[in-house]
């Protein structure tokens, strides 16, 4: 059972967890769906990997948005602004679970669904590992060969060499990258469902 205070305390505990546990990579909702290029990457500005990811994303022609502890400014000033104008495009991120939660909830209303998710952990050797089921790692290998989305998602969101081995630790050893409120997640949202959000276009108030 959780209280509001234990939620806050739990974040602190999560940030100091030293042992590597499994990472969860969920199969895409529509694995055979056509994949659109990722247009935007959200990066947690507190992350030490932020600059590297941002450079890779910009180089791939992907817009980079900095997310902090409060994702509201990005949502309300940029993403919802785009979505209301029917510019609903694939979105990738490297953020906290909190940011992902709110973006997912809003994005759901606009037909975007989470097709990829990985949790970054720190193990006792101060490395970041992203691991997952073979099927997802294989799918990453496929996506990596697609133009646009695959290369953008992999190179900017994951920074992983792809391997088909099941539950293999990746070969990447990166600088530990945690933020005060917990682990970071890599994720991708794709416009899959029909846009059904009942909203008018923005009107002058």
């Amino acid at each position: 059972m959780l209280t509001r205070r234990s939620l806050l305390e739990g974040w602190a505990a999560l940030a100091t967890a030293a042992s590597a546990r499994g990472v969860f990579v969920r199969p895409g909702t529509h694995p055979d769906a056509d994949l659109a290029p990722v247009a935007t990457l959200l990066v947690d500005a507190r992350s030490s990997g932020r600059d590297e990811l941002a450079r890779a994303a910009i180089g791939a022609g992907v817009r980079v948005l900095d997310a902090g502890a409060d994702v509201a400014p990005i949502l309300y000033r940029t993403l919802l602004h785009d979505w209301r104008r029917q510019a609903i495009k694939a979105l990738a991120g490297f953020t906290s679970a909190t940011s992902l939660f709110y973006i997912e909830r809003f994005a759901y209303d606009w037909g975007l669904r989470t097709v990829f998710l990985a949790r970054h952990l720190v193990d006792g050797e101060d490395a970041r590992w992203v691991r997952g089921p073979e099927c997802m790692l294989n799918r990453l290998a496929v996506c990596a060969r697609l133009e646009g989305w695959g290369s953008a998602a992999v190179s900017t969101s994951l920074r992983l060499p792809v391997t088909p081995r099941p539950l293999a630790c990746s070969q990447a050893r990166l600088v530990p990258d945690m933020i005060a409120d917990g682990a970071l997640y890599s994720w991708t949202l794709m416009p899959i469902a029909r846009h059904t959000m009942p909203m008018t276009a923005e009107t002058a108030l």
């Binding site: 059972m1 959780l2 974040w11 409060d70 679970a97 939660f101 029909r194 059904t196």
Partner: protein
Amino acid sequence: MRKPPGVSDQDFATALGQFESVVGRRWLFTGDEDLDLYRDAFSPYWGEAEERRASAAVAPDRVGQVQDIVRIANRFRIPLYPISTGRDLGYGGSAPTYTGSVVVDLKRMNRVLEVNERNASALLEPGVSYFDLYQYIQERGLKVWLDVPDPGWGSPIGNSLDRGGGYTMPAFRMHFDSHCGMEVVLPNGELMRTGMGALPGSKSWQEFKWSFGPWVDGLFSQSSLGIVTKMGFWLMPQPEAYLTGTVSVARYADLIPLIDTLNYLENSSITNGMPELWSPAMGITADAEAASDTAEVRALVEQAIDGNAEPLEASGARRKRPVWTLRIKFYGPARTVPLQWEFSKERFAQIRGATFTDGTLIRLPLTEAQKAQVPKAEFGIPALSIWSRISRSEQSPGEHYGHQGFSPIIPRSGEAIFAANRVFAEARRQHGIGVPLYSIPYFFWHRALMFIFLWPTSRDRAENAKSRTALMDLVRLAAKAGFGEYRAAPAYQDLIMSTYSFNNHALLHFHETLKDAVDPNGIMSPGRYGVWPRHLRPRPPQ
């Protein structure tokens, strides 16, 4: 296709056709994919037969359309369920209370009709979110503040009608209390305005709440008697400064004079922000990083609950951790808030050994850099940074988790906090209900205290069943002790209404009498907050 119970296929199809002619094909939603948007993401019955599901949704963009929809619903006995932004997660979200209802999605009615800076008031439509209103005010440089809940992704109308709370001054943080005047579409389709809005030509609609005769606004909060299509609010004039001050005391029993003094200061409007209380000696602190909760401390807390607090006090003294720390806040002129804090210290100093920490005076408005550092809700800034840890877990991080809550109201006193913790300890020890070792209440309400207990919801039926059982058991135990819930998810509304049983449930009978008179066809939000229309009564006990 799901349809409302008791409605024939033909009637439902005809009604849907008529809804479509009112709002247009684009704004009627009947497909499974569309209706997924109207599931309660935090439902404790996710995927089970008891999960409340909509049969359709319709999105009007003006009051006339709402009236037409209601008239059609009456003609065919279609249950309706209005939502504004549908972000009331934890209390049902965008899902109806009664499966098969047609959700009336008011998000398209999203106009800020007026913000009157001189009068510090606003008039809004239900689809306006806190962020919309905040942005409106910021873009125009108006010197008024909102009071926002946390997270701030809902709507002022939706949140206040559900009697949510916020974080600034008492006059504004009890959101329903801060409203002034509403416009309502009644279950027969008639349009009514309350307060001074009932007087044609009145310019006081957002200034004077009561008009003449019985004051009816409360009938539309947490209720099923109409669809609110406009609502006025009093806004907080932007203060000049903000200051906090902290007082710490060393003895467990000091909580009694601590709360009594706080009450005096709040009731005298000397302190006017939302207080916060912690127990560093028990390992309950504002700073999660500094929290510590060892087995030794837990044993001491158990003893304190049972009436022997000396070991806890001794341990706290040794670790230099006070048993209680109270933070109080002040909004007001930069010259006077320090004086208000000084006066507050004089009063608290009557508690032997009380110590104080002065906060930093913050001049307002905040700079952009300051906005990133302060607790935004205390400055009327809607944010999305709270909770959601339980939206993912290590066991199932790809799934949407959520929470459900029990938030009982207790009197505003130290004695009541002690008594409540004895009740919760009994729940934990004797009934195995998962509650914290020690619970510290929140001070949202000006004249009462409230605890918040949260249980996760998931896609695991067994886990949800356990959480539901724990919550309902605690509701019953708390009610026996005189602690009632103030707001709940639909899954628990019948149970909780049944606890308000004075004089053979006279309150419920009164609600039902009103319901039968105002909504004889029972089309408006059946079952909301435990009030069912005649044709759906009686309900089986939970």
